[in-house]
Structure formats: structure tokens, C-alpha cells
Amino acid sequence: MEQAFFFYFAFVIAVAAVFVVAVRNPIYSALSLLIMFFHVAGLYVTLNAEFLAAVQIIVYAGAILVLYLFVVMLLNLRQDDRYHRQWPMAAAVGSTLVIEAIILTVMKGWTSPVVAPGTETTVGGISNTAAIGDVLYSTYMFPFEVASLILLVAMIGAILLAKKDIGGDAPQL
């Protein structure tokens, strides 16, 4: 049963990822990415990360993808997008990575390593959300604050970059 769920999610994720890259119309690309985000959220649920699954749908599907769709529709693109001349480079990098993965798999076999004993951040009897909150606000307090700073910088930067004119003497791009 678990395996059936995994293979369903994995199959849809892989196919949707290929569609994101292969489809010509950027809107179809974005919608395919939406399907992938939903299935990644489903995969998180099977991995006992319920809170992350909710956040994945809210932030990725709700915020990021809507932003993408806005920009795609705002720019009103013509469909003259063809593949890049760089495709030999893409083929070289892709095939190298595939061969590397195959070699690693063959050499290592499919045996799984031993499960490490629980650390201080072990998920105990409490729920997933409580465990994440516990760790986030104690061990990872400083990175959490830095993340808020990153968001602030991104907000200011996005407003400044996308603004048309700042007082009339903005540098022309």
C-alpha cells in the first residue's frame, strides 16, 4: 500500500517535472509545476511531515506559483521560444550525471544503511508541528532570524527593481 502511494507520487512528480521543461507555452509549464507541487506535498504526508505538506501547498502553490502566473500573463509572451543552442552542453551534463548515478547505484547496491540512533531533536510522542516548532525556536533560533532578514531584503529589492520610476531620477536599465 505504502509502495503504491510512493510509486504514484514519484511517477507523477517525474512526469510533471519533464513537462515543465519540455512544454512550449510558459503557462502550461507553470500549471505542470503546480501539479508537481501538490504531489510533492502528498509525498511529504507519506513521510510523516504533515506540517511541511501544508506549507508546501500554501507557500509554493499558493504564493510562488501565482506570482509566476501573474508575470507570465503580464508579459504577454509570444510563443517563439525554441530550445537553446546550448543543447550539446545540456546533453553532456545530463548524461554525465545519469552515468554517475548508475555507477554509484551499481557499486553500492541497494542496501540501506543502518538507522542512526535518535538525536536531541528526535521526533518524540509530540506531533510533527510541535516538534518542528520546538526545534525551530530553540536550536535554530538564529537562522530563523536571518531568514526573516532575507525576506525583508527580498521584499525591498523586489519593490525597488520593479518600480517604474523613483522620483524621476532613477537609473535607467
Partner: protein, 101 residues
């Protein structure tokens, strides 16, 4: 847990590879940013799988940080695209060679 960890690693490898190929292959900047999102999601799948495997919630915390950076990247990247489109009225990367030597 009946699914081996290696399955998750292979899945995330496939998705990451698709993202790399998309970045190298496509000319549309928006699709390139979408491919970067693919790569970030591949790493997130890995993080969560290892977090479940080691029974350690720290991996899920790092997914949060990756998510924050992804949101910031999208906001700034799309703002740059809009500014570029305003200045050049194209988002085809073959025609944006200002920084190329």
C-alpha cells in the same frame, strides 16, 4: 517504513536532473526560474526523506529555510525579469548579452 531510502534519492536525482537540463536548454527566463524551483524541490524531497529515515526533525527545519530562500529568489528574480522586459521588451536570454564578454 517499507520504502528504501534509495528510492527517494533516485526520485530526487531525476527531478534535479530535469531542472539542470531545463536551465541549460530553455531560452525563456521564466522557464529557467521554474527549473530552479524544480531543483530546490528535489533537494527538499531529499531532506524530508532523510529526516524521516533518521527520525530527526532537523531536516524538515532546513526545508523551511530552503523555502524562504526560494520565495526570496522568486520575488527578486521576477522583479528583475519585469525590469528587463521593460528595458528590452524581450525575455529571450539569447538577446540579453549585456554581461557577456
Amino acid at each position: 517504513m517499507t520504502i528504501p531510502l534509495s528510492y527517494y534519492i533516485v526520485l530526487s536525482g531525476i527531478v534535479f536532473l530535469t531542472g539542470v537540463v531545463g536551465v541549460l536548454l530553455r531560452r525563456n527566463i521564466i522557464i529557467i526560474l521554474l527549473s530552479v524551483e524544480l531543483m530546490l524541490n528535489a533537494t527538499n524531497i531529499n531532506f524530508v526523506a532523510f529526516s524521516q529515515y533518521f527520525h530527526d526533525v532537523a531536516g524538515q527545519v532546513f526545508v523551511f529555510f530552503a523555502l524562504t530562500v526560494a520565495a526570496a529568489e522568486v520575488a527578486v528574480g521576477l522583479a528583475i525579469i519585469i525590469a528587463l522586459y521593460r528595458a528590452r521588451s524581450t525575455i529571450n536570454i539569447d538577446e540579453l548579452q549585456l554581461l557577456k564578454w
